[in-house]
């Protein structure tokens, strides 16, 4: 497994080179990419910020859960921070496993859990010069 929060640009290759095995017949990759519009507004970029230490911990937990689901330890996830332009990847996920169903499932699991509980925030920069924090998800907090 490999997980990281990084301010460096990320590509599919960033995670692809960390998965794969001679016994794996499937490799699934997901990229989250900054798009040029949101809710009717023209977007020129997105600034991502993180509670870095906690985000590293939560991302490792999510990857471990995905590995458990997939029955494969070949799970790699990298989330970007900093100023991203349209077209740049904010998150890259790769999972490899012997068969495709597990790889697809684990890849989907990782991105959905990131959306629910990774302590990361994004502020959209608009073409008109305005900016706004995006509404997010309220993480579930387990009560002991």
């Amino acid at each position: 497994m490999y997980t990281a929060i990084t301010s460096d640009p990320i590509t599919a290759e960033t995670v692809l080179r960390r998965v794969g095995d001679d016994g794996d017949g499937a490799v699934c990759v997901f990229l989250g990419v900054v798009r040029d519009h949101n809710e009717g507004r023209s977007v020129r970029g997105v600034a991502y910020s993180a509670y870095r230490e906690m985000a590293e911990r939560v991302l490792a937990e999510i990857a471990a859960e995905a590995a458990e689901r997939a029955g494969s330890d070949r799970v790699a996830v990298v989330h970007r921070t900093g100023e991203l332009a349209v077209g740049e990847a904010s998150v890259a996920i790769a999972v490899s496993s012997p068969h495709r169903a597990e790889a697809f499932d684990a890849c989907r699991y990782v991105i959905e859990e990131i959306k629910k509980r990774l302590p990361v925030w994004k502020q959209e920069r608009y073409v008109d010069g305005d900016e706004a924090w995006l509404d997010g998800a309220v993480p579930e907090v387990a009560h002991d």
């Binding site: 509670y51 509980r117 990774l118 302590p119 925030w121 994004k122 997010g136 907090v141």
Partner: protein
């Protein structure tokens, strides 16, 4: 006891600071720390009264008891991915 409280994203902007040190009574809870923060200034009072809280980098309910040196964080709704 003294604890550190970290603020992120929108809450950081509202409060005008990214970190405060709080002096709390012994037996204080995470919710008490939020109350203490909101009492610091008019800007800090703009933070919601029941935000999502992390204690030592784990999501924690408001009644979580605190210990000296704990690192608390108030987390706006998350928007990764």
């Amino acid at each position: 006891m003294r604890v550190r409280l970290l603020l992120f994203a929108r809450y950081r902007e509202l409060a005008g600071t990214d970190e405060v040190e709080l002096e709390l009574p012994s037996r204080a809870t995470a919710a008490d720390a939020v109350d203490a923060l909101r009492a610091l200034s008019r800007d800090c009072a703009r933070i919601p009264s029941q935000p999502v809280i992390a204690v030592n980098q784990r999501y924690a309910p408001p009644d979580t008891p605190l210990a000296p040196g704990d690192e608390l964080a108030l987390l706006p709704p998350v928007a990764g991915g």
